[in-house]
């Protein structure tokens, strides 16, 4: 009799594998499995064929609370600061975001705030020329806060709608580098009281549980307001952005789907959750 049977453990194990394989994290996945068992007991769930949709429903429902729109300034320029660990895709994300805004009719400037890494300014400059964004840059080795300051001045005087500030990649475990980032933010806020209006943390979709530590430390240092999830065109699912919610809740605002300036999309919770099961 179906009302006496308990849930098929192999079905649960298969689901666990999919969700853990998506980098959601073993403890959050265990909590989801527990919800399934409770729903089964209370007869909310009666068929194993309903299980995947049940989980998708929980995850999608959960993401409804995410504020995904860009927080624009009341008075231009809107200032967006982009941060994250090394090599995740910050500079490319900036090119994509700038392009996205330019196609939407906005006047965009980028600030070459990575004054440390070899050819970092050259890289952003090539992008800015390709997409038609203005750029403010200094010499290698100069103070990134000074670049940000000059870019703010230039944005104000040139009637820029959105200024996007690039920063050097840095591991969150390097305290002096995190202090440098906080200083850049302070300099921006001093010049324009509500700025930066958006602080985007770029996460690489291939990153595992370390993304949680990254999010916490960057949030502490510069009050991250959104995540740009890059490299979702690979085989990694980026499930860590869901898994981290119980520890730190930051909405994903954009996803990166490739290496050209057009490979950006606004975050879509339904599409994201469905893709976890593909």
């Amino acid at each position: 009799f179906s009302f006496r049977r308990s849930i098929d453990e192999s079905v649960l194990e298969e689901l666990e594998d999919i969700l853990i394989g998506a980098d959601i994290g073993v403890k959050p996945v265990q909590r989801l499995i527990k919800k399934i068992k409770e729903a089964w007991k209370s007869k909310t769930l009666t068929e194993t064929s309903q299980i995947n949709d049940f989980i998708k429903g929980i995850l999608k429902e959960d993401l409804q609370s995410w504020q995904i729109d860009i927080h624009y300034a009341r008075k231009s320029p809107t200032v967006i600061m982009v941060v994250g660990v090394n090599g995740v895709g910050k500079t490319t994300a900036i090119a994509k975001l700038a392009n996205f805004l330019i196609k939407d009719g906005k006047k965009v400037m980028v600030a070459a705030g990575d004054t440390f890494r070899a050819a970092a300014t050259d890289q952003l400059e090539i992008w800015s020329k390709r997409i038609g964004a203005e750029i403010v840059k200094h010499q290698t080795g100069s103070d990134p806060a000074a670049v940000a300051y000059d870019a703010l001045e230039a944005s104000i005087s040139r009637g820029i709608d959105v200024l996007i500030v690039d920063t050097a990649g840095r591991l969150h475990t390097h305290e002096n580098l995190m202090n440098e980032l906080s200083k850049i933010k302070r300099v921006i806020s001093k010049k324009i009281p509500d700025a930066p209006h958006e602080v985007l943390l770029v996460l690489d979709a291939t990153t595992g549980q370390n993304a949680i530590s990254q999010a916490k430390v960057f949030k502490q240092a510069v009050d991250v307001t959104g995540i740009f999830l890059a490299k979702l065109d690979g085989t990694a699912k980026g499930g860590i952005v869901l898994g981290m919610r119980s520890e730190i809740n930051i909405p994903v605002k954009f996803i990166g789907l490739g290496e050209t300036a057009d490979d950006i999309e606004k975050f879509n919770p339904d599409a994201f959750v469905n893709a976890l099961f593909e």
Partner: protein, 291 residues
């Protein structure tokens, strides 16, 4: 040390005289959680736990007077075995150029690692040549040139050219000058990008590099097995270089990649500066993974 980390995991078992099979399985459940939270791939964890369980619930443990210690020793030994022997030598060719090719996903640290490897090789008394074979990323060539300048190591590059041609001409150039090691820095690419994977196979076929190293970011999660497996199956690599280990990632990708490809991790990147490259120590990594 691993034993310390394992004792933490097995703290519930310590002091228990006799253990039941269910005590042991509970302890191994904790090991499973620790490995998954360290980003070891779930399939690799399953195989490992199954293998360890078979040994741990055997007679040797149940009848032992210190069963907790026995289980700890089994987990320790099996983890070390899985992590593999240390194999950090670069087999240089004598009397001919040694060709080394760096490959991997976007942003993993190839260009920086090329510089670090060149610096290490220079310190061994050899004369490396860096080759800028990434023609796709904006300012990639410039990035490698800057690193070469910092190291006083020559960089071979061509504007408006193609990777296979650049690599071929670089080897010609190396033969004509006195460079005995050539390091090809390639563009980052996805293992599922057929065209770009084909490009790597073409470079391999035409240039026959002696060493191909897969450069992988140590914070990679479950996906590490997908990319490593595919790069090894399609291209084949001789070793792995794990980067950004100066962070606080547990680095389970190291175990996953080793388990799935059998290839050794040769070096680890532990910082952005060009002297931040070290030989890989399997026991230290195993200890870090177990937290």
């Amino acid at each position: 040390s691993i034993t310390n980390s394992l004792e933490g995991v097995f703290s519930k078992l310590r002091g228990k005289g006799r253990l039941t099979e269910s005590n042991i399985k509970d302890g191994l459940h904790e090991v499973r959680l620790a490995l998954l939270e360290a980003d070891v791939n779930y399939k690799v964890v399953k195989d490992f736990i199954q293998h360890v369980t078979e040994r741990a619930v055997g007679e040797e443990v149940i009848k032992s007077i210190a069963p907790g210690q026995q289980v700890i020793k089994i987990v320790h030994d099996e983890l070390i075995k899985l992590m593999g022997e240390s194999d950090t030598a670069i087999p240089f060719m004598e009397g001919d150029q040694t060709l080394i090719m760096l490959v991997g996903l976007q942003g993993s640290g190839k260009t920086t690692t090329a510089g670090k490897l060149a610096k290490t090789i220079l310190s061994k008394g050899r004369k490396p040549l860096l080759v800028a074979a990434d023609v796709q990323r904006p300012a990639a060539i410039e990035q490698l040139k800057v690193l070469g300048q910092q190291l006083n190591i020559p960089v071979y590059f061509e504007e408006n050219s193609q990777p296979v041609k650049i690599c071929k001409n670089a080897v010609k150039y190396a033969r004509e000058s006195t460079n005995d090691v050539v390091i090809f820095d390639t563009a980052g690419r996805l293992h599922i990008d057929d065209d770009l994977m084909f490009e790597l196979k073409e470079i391999k076929q035409k240039l026959e590099p002696h060493q191909i190293y897969f450069v992988c970011d140590a914070m990679t999660g479950q996906d590490a097995v997908n990319s490593a497996k595919e790069f090894d199956a399609q291209l084949g690599f001789d070793g792995v270089i794990l980067t950004k280990l100066d962070g606080d990632t547990r680095g389970g990708a190291a175990l996953s990649i080793r388990a799935v490809t059998g290839k050794p991790i040769k070096f680890v990147g532990i910082g952005e500066k060009l002297d931040r490259l070290e030989e890989f120590h399997p026991d230290r990594m195993a200890s870090r993974i177990l937290g």
